[in-house]
Symmetry: C2
Subunit: 279 residues, 2 copies
């Protein structure tokens, strides 16, 4: 029987373990640090087996999912770089890819690292919030290395289908990071920036769906997002600056009192949204 080792059973790692249940002829082994996570995983049947000793299972794993924060992934790769099985596929779940692909260069050539970003999440963390359905209809982005094998890319795609992802997007780390600064990171920056408004606590009773939606992600995991934002700073700051400019342009046309110009500008933006046609 082949073996998938999932390192870190938090919200994402735990959900991957649940979603991968029954995948082909693989045994699922979870690696955890805390006793609490171990007890929860055992009690809820997450993975076929749970261990707190990564060194005991890494050498036999055919597939390793690294589900820690970015810094934890880099540290893990450094610590275990000589213990992976030759021919193993190693992947991760991190929201930035250039820095992770760089960190994976410590691996020997016989270990294949394919970066992965499952575009799903929740405003909570920990295995107690994990669920097999987390990835339904989400995008699954992969960034293979220059020497990644077609067999491993195919294996990544089969796992994605089993977990319920909508599609597999295969791209470069650099392109991923530039686009994700826009579609994910700046959404989180906006959410916290909105909560910095002095009127925040006075607005209860006046919020509708758009406010709840926008600020949903503001109660974020600070150590994780500090790493993600910092490791993608140039791309992210470019997108923030664009947004500042676009907001200022709207403010100026509203301040001008020229309602025809405002209507034209709104028409232009709304048509872009309709053309985008998400879902």
């Amino acid at each position: 029987m082949k073996q998938i080792v999932i390192v870190g059973l938090g919200l994402i790692g735990g959900s991957i373990a649940m979603a991968l249940e029954g995948f082909e002829d693989y045994e699922l082994v979870g690696v955890v640090r805390s006793d609490a996570t171990r007890d929860y995983a055992v009690a809820h049947g997450v993975c076929d087996r749970i261990t707190q000793d990564a060194g005991a299972v890494i050498p036999t794993a055919d597939v390793v999912w690294l589900c820690q924060h970015p810094g934890g992934i880099a540290a893990f790769l450094n610590q275990y770089k000589d213990q992976f099985k030759a021919g193993a596929l190693v992947t991760d779940v991190c929201g930035i890819k250039t820095a992770i692909m760089e960190a994976a260069r410590v691996l020997p050539p016989e270990v294949d690292f394919i970066g992965c970003h499952p575009m799903a999440g929740k405003e909570t963390s920990g295995i107690q919030n994990a669920e097999a359905a987390l990835f339904q209809r989400a995008h699954y982005i992969i960034t293979p290395g220059p020497d990644s094998s077609a067999e491993h890319v195919d294996l990544m795609e089969r796992m994605a289908r089993h977990m319920g992802f909508r599609d597999v997007v295969n791209t470069t780390p650099e392109h991923h990071d530039a686009i994700i600064a826009y579609t994910s990171q700046v959404m989180h920056i906006m959410a916290v920036a909105v909560c910095d408004d002095p009127d925040l606590f006075g607005c209860k009773g006046f919020e509708g769906g758009s406010f709840r939606d926008c600020t949903r992600v503001a109660a974020l995991d600070v150590p994780l997002w500090t790493e993600l934002f910092s490791m993608n700073a140039p791309a992210l700051c470019k997108v923030i600056r664009n947004l500042e400019d676009n907001l200022r342009a709207y403010r100026e046309v509203i301040e001008s009192g020229d309602t025809g110009a405002l209507a034209d500008k709104l028409t232009w933006s709304a048509n872009r949204k309709r053309k985008m046609n998400l879902e």
Copy 2:
């Protein structure tokens, strides 16, 4: 039998008509302009009676809901100001209140105008998208006039409960408009500003829940929102400027490379969101 007249059966007016079905001993009469809306309303049993002649029902109405755009409401009040029944309650559904309360001053003193803003909506319009459940758990904001009667405020509250609103928030037009600039209008400005980013069409396959949530309202009704933004320009521009400042502050701390300062700032914002504790 008493009579409620609902003028304009679009998304909001149509939903109000459906949600008010069975309210106490009132007959529901819908006033529509187009044949298409009339036919839809008749075919789907929206209201007890439909007419295209407002002048025929306004004089007998005990309650009148004005469910047009702001400009349409002002024009309607001007045209029919002398035809309302003495003692009638007139209300509206408009997302700004100061300008509407001002427009309602054309009414004679024996007609009671209480402004209303049902904090619910959808990114679609028209009676074909109306639904009785639209207001479930939404806030219902009312702005009584200086001479509004306690009986009419009570009637507004009974209608709100019948329609399924979560609560009734009673406030002044000025306070409503200042806060709504923040909780609703700037959310729409952000959504269109995000769609103005040059990367918009390149980001398909990379969007997650936060992006879909934020941009959901970008395909907005341009004539309506042009009016709403323009009629609340000073309050809205102040909130946009705050948001520009808050975004720039985040950009500057990310650009500085000071991860400790970034973590502190994220902690502060995330704690505000947790303290806000919506839902």
